[in-house]
Assembly symmetry: C2
Homo-oligomer: 393 residues x 2
């Protein structure tokens, strides 16, 4: 079932190898090959928003089993600036991460963070949330910025309507995003390689359409027509609820070509990951592992632990028995609770290590389940243990 | 010149081996043997106030070349509580540090942090700065708390008068501290071993007396009479200025027995370390490496760098060329500045790693200088490079 993209772009741009080694229902066990090495899917990318995964060094990140990280075009173009990163050798060198990196296009942040913005068919003009400076982001500039940063996978500029958007607004965003995808492809075909290191970059299109299945289908059709190296599902996990998200996800396997990787943006809740993998999703990114760690919340196979709770004050057990992470091998729940009580940085650091290890082990278990043809059975068992309060479907 | 303490306490309490391998003037190159391994002196202990050296894991701390850490009796007795730490296996296990630990007595913190305090000959009663609870600390309780924590070196309870204290107040503090030293010794002789792990602990007396050389001599005489495993110089680096500090330090070699380790409390400025080593000091502790790291200040062999400064914005060089630390091997000054600008935890983390590596290398160079009989010459060269603005003496 191996498949290498052979779309309408020059052979030099056949940059992402994607081979599917096993399927189990719609779930896929894949291998994605980038200029910075091969990763196995399904996988979750932690967020390195400003060029750093919060709370840990890249060496510690590597030790958690994390394969690939996401960085943020919007944040990095505003500070320190894409040209600065390129001048310093590109993002891999800047952030000292030798593995694959995906850069988000900035569309989502422009629509959620920027102070004021004006959207036209040409692109979007906004004021930086950092210093109020006026910045223009067109599809062409978005590609240029990501070429300067030099990630392995780059994302098209898209328009992200708010969760409250009506059908007309959604439809307009679908059409504008599709038109921008075409312009991103043209800009990408002209270069296709990172500015500094010269390695190839793979461009993903982004599907929009809210929870409207017709618009989702139209959006998918338009970006698939462009024959891009991969496709993302955007505009979900923005408050539509798990049922609505699943209704959309159930359609993606037929909308996207089997041989290209599929990336569900912004999703990381374990139950949502399982549902999406069951629908044929390969890549995920989410702030949950790192953000919740900073709030003293640990993910485990039996649900979440709140380490600030008094019940842990004298508990000599690790966060999770059998977890091979540095935190669980060395620290008691009592010590971690103490560090949070004392506002020591070590509390967030230790739980970030644990949570990222948890998600690396969780996605590895998903891959093993697919390889064994037991993904659905195991998935039900994991859900029953992780969400004991929730009625099982 | 090797010397093992053979004072008036039982043979089982001959717990600290201290051998002097080289001297150069009054400067000494030593080996201190504890229940958790041998360290070489002079050395600087980073502060792990609440059972964690701020910003890094014990594994990262080990990799900086740090040999030994200080933890704080006052902070740990208030939170999480000495009994809790003992119940969890003692401080080494609690904080996941397998090397030697020294616990400060808490005297300094009681006198600087506690909300209200009443000092009598019996001890001190104070209100916790955390929750206002009333706590009593006597010499006996101080020893019991440190026995529960289980450090390798424990400190006597002392009275720390303010820098503004007059002669009478200083004299009273000297006499009270000496009396408390005797009671600490009696309590320590009754146990002498950590509560949980059962390993031996070495007790240090603390000299007080401000900048009054007569009181300093009296204070030293009284604690030396107790024949303790080591001696600390307290009450310096509290605003008296470098000249006054050096005047006191110049007398210590004749006041303390040659074969016992000497510990200058709270000192870490490189120039002060060099001056103190020249006077025969072996051990230091200081928050400078870690606190300054959190404030974006890096120590180097050519002085301090302020990494927030705009001049570093595009600088591809490491903090210090040739430094073997993780930070300098992987990150540019530009990236570190960016992390501070973006308020990413990685900024403080990376500079903490660098600064602790710097102090480990600096004290290693001091030891090599002593071994080579060139401590004074090299010391002058280091000072000229590190403090180019300062007239050299």
């Amino acid at each position: 079932m191996a498949d290498r993209p052979t779309g309408g772009y020059p052979p030099s741009l056949n940059v992402l190898g994607f081979a599917i080694d096993h399927t189990d229902g719609k779930a896929r066990l894949g291998r994605l090959t980038t200029a910075h090495g091969e990763v196995t899917t399904p996988l979750l990318m932690p967020c390195g928003t400003a060029g750093a995964v919060r709370g840990i060094t890249p060496a510690q990140l590597r030790a958690t089993g994390t394969q690939m990280v996401l960085a943020n075009t919007y944040h990095l173009m505003l500070r320190p600036g894409a040209e600065v990163v390129a001048e310093l050798g590109g993002l891999h060198r800047f952030m000292a991460w030798a593995g694959p990196i995906l850069t988000d296009s900035g569309g989502y942040q422009v629509f959620s963070l920027a102070d004021r913005r004006t959207v036209t068919d040409d692109g979007v003009v906004f004021r930086s949330h950092i210093d109020g400076a006026e910045v223009a982001l067109t599809p062409e500039r978005c590609m240029e910025v990501q070429r300067l940063l030099g990630a392995d996978i780059v994302m098209q500029l898209d328009e992200c309507p708010p969760a409250s958007a009506g059908r007309e607004q959604l439809a307009a965003a679908v059409r504008r995003s599709a038109a921008w995808a075409g312009r991103c492809k043209a800009a990408w075909e002209a270069h296709g390689r990172s500015a500094r290191a010269g390695h190839p970059q793979g461009l993903f299109g982004i599907q929009q359409g809210g929870t409207d299945l017709e618009l989702r289908a139209e959006s998918a059709r338009r970006i698939v027509d462009l024959e891009l190296p991969g496709y993302a599902i955007g505009g979900l996990s923005v408050g539509e609820g798990p049922e609505a998200m699943r209704t959309v996800l159930e359609t993606i396997d037929e909308l996207f070509p089997a041989g290209k990787p599929r990336y569900l943006m912004g999703v990381g809740e374990p139950a949502d990951i399982l549902a999406a993998v069951a629908c044929g999703v390969d890549l995920f990114d989410c702030v949950l592992p790192t953000r919740n760690a900073r709030n003293a919340q640990a993910f485990t196979w039996t649900g979440r632990l709140r380490l600030r709770n008094a019940e842990h004050a004298r508990d000599p057990r690790p966060v999770e028995e059998g977890c091979p992470c540095y935190t669980c091998r060395n620290f008691s729940r009592a010590a971690i609770r103490h560090y949070f009580q004392a506002e020591e940085m070590l509390g967030p650091i230790l739980l970030t290590i644990h949570n990222l290890t948890f998600f690396a082990r969780f996605t590895a278990a998903i891959r093993e389940g697919i390889a064994a043809g037991q993904f659905q059975q195991r998935s039900r068992q994991w859900l029953a243990r992780m969400y004991p309060q929730r009625p099982q479907r």
